[in-house]
Symmetry: C2
Subunit: 182 residues, 2 copies
């Protein structure tokens, strides 16, 4: 196993309301030095929720994605608030974005988005035993909620509007877990 | 289908060698106005390569991920150079990062990373009929290449060091495609 590069220097390049760009001077174990840039991440973390209802459907949402300037189909997700654990955050976000609470929430695995230049970590949570419950979130408009049959995931993965890598990964991982326990 | 929000204003917040932070003033179709921030993306795009050898193994690489400050296991990937198409970029990156060329390269699908605040798009490419061929890349150190049996993807998806959502998604999508054509 290669020894990690030594971090010679970290310095702020720029920051904004949401982002903090950091320059990193690294010395690799073979002596090569490089300067990298990355986005520094808050400590709070985030959750993505695979919520399955009694008809073996997963709850998708349709929301505006500012990065793409498109409405996209994806899974409910959001930041973990200070003092919350991942399960509590998942249950809150599910109520805010999809209008359901869950009596059963379990952790599936941690995913990263673009680890070469972002430290973001997302906890995939499986939510079951759902009941209708709406909490007010900070969405600018109500989100459309689309229940999608688990038996039709291959068709979902071919839809252009369902493009987020972490959402496809989350559904694959849950499918794998359910196949093991059923 | 909801009409897209109107973009009232786009303005630069900060930029660096790698990143460009943009503020977006939006008016949603219900009249609500919001200011968002996002990372603007270059036009070139990127590829992620699922390269399968004659022993039904996929080629993984182990590289240092500056965002996580860890060595991670992932798929070869990289930016599409000006003038390249995705298949050419995939074949070049595969030679630079894994030491193999491919006689057959096909497009699987486009993935996004964090569409709420990033416009990044990544083309998942399937590479087969491999042959040894090494091109010099810009890596600070040689990457370790790990052939991983396709029959053991569930075990891979449970490894903490294989955490990138788009890499897990890419392998699921290829698995789905191979199951259909075999």
């Amino acid at each position: 196993m290669t020894a990690k590069p030594e971090i010679l220097k970290l310095s702020k390049v720029a920051n904004s309301r949401l982002f903090y760009i950091e320059a990193m001077e690294l010395r690799f174990s073979n002596g090569v030095e490089r300067q990298y840039e990355r986005l520094r991440t808050g400590r709070q973390g985030a959750v993505m929720i695979v919520a399955i209802n009694g008809r073996d459907e997963v709850l998708l949402i349709r929301e505006y994605a500012a990065g793409l300037e498109e409405y996209v189909l994806t899974l409910p997700k959001g930041l973990i608030d200070p003092g919350e654990d991942a399960a509590t955050a998942a249950n809150r976000e599910l109520q805010e974005e999809a209008g359901f609470g869950a009596r059963e929430v379990s952790h599936v695995r941690q995913l990263t988005a673009a680890p070469n230049y972002m430290g973001h970590r997302l906890e995939v949570m499986l939510a079951r035993d759902l009941y209708p419950s709406k909490l007010e979130g900070d969405e600018p408009e109500p989100l459309e909620v689309i229940p999608w049959p688990l038996s039709k995931l291959p068709e979902l993965f071919e839809r252009e509007e369902f493009s987020e890598g972490r959402a496809i990964a989350a559904l694959c991982l849950v499918q794998q877990r359910l196949a093991k326990t059923d």
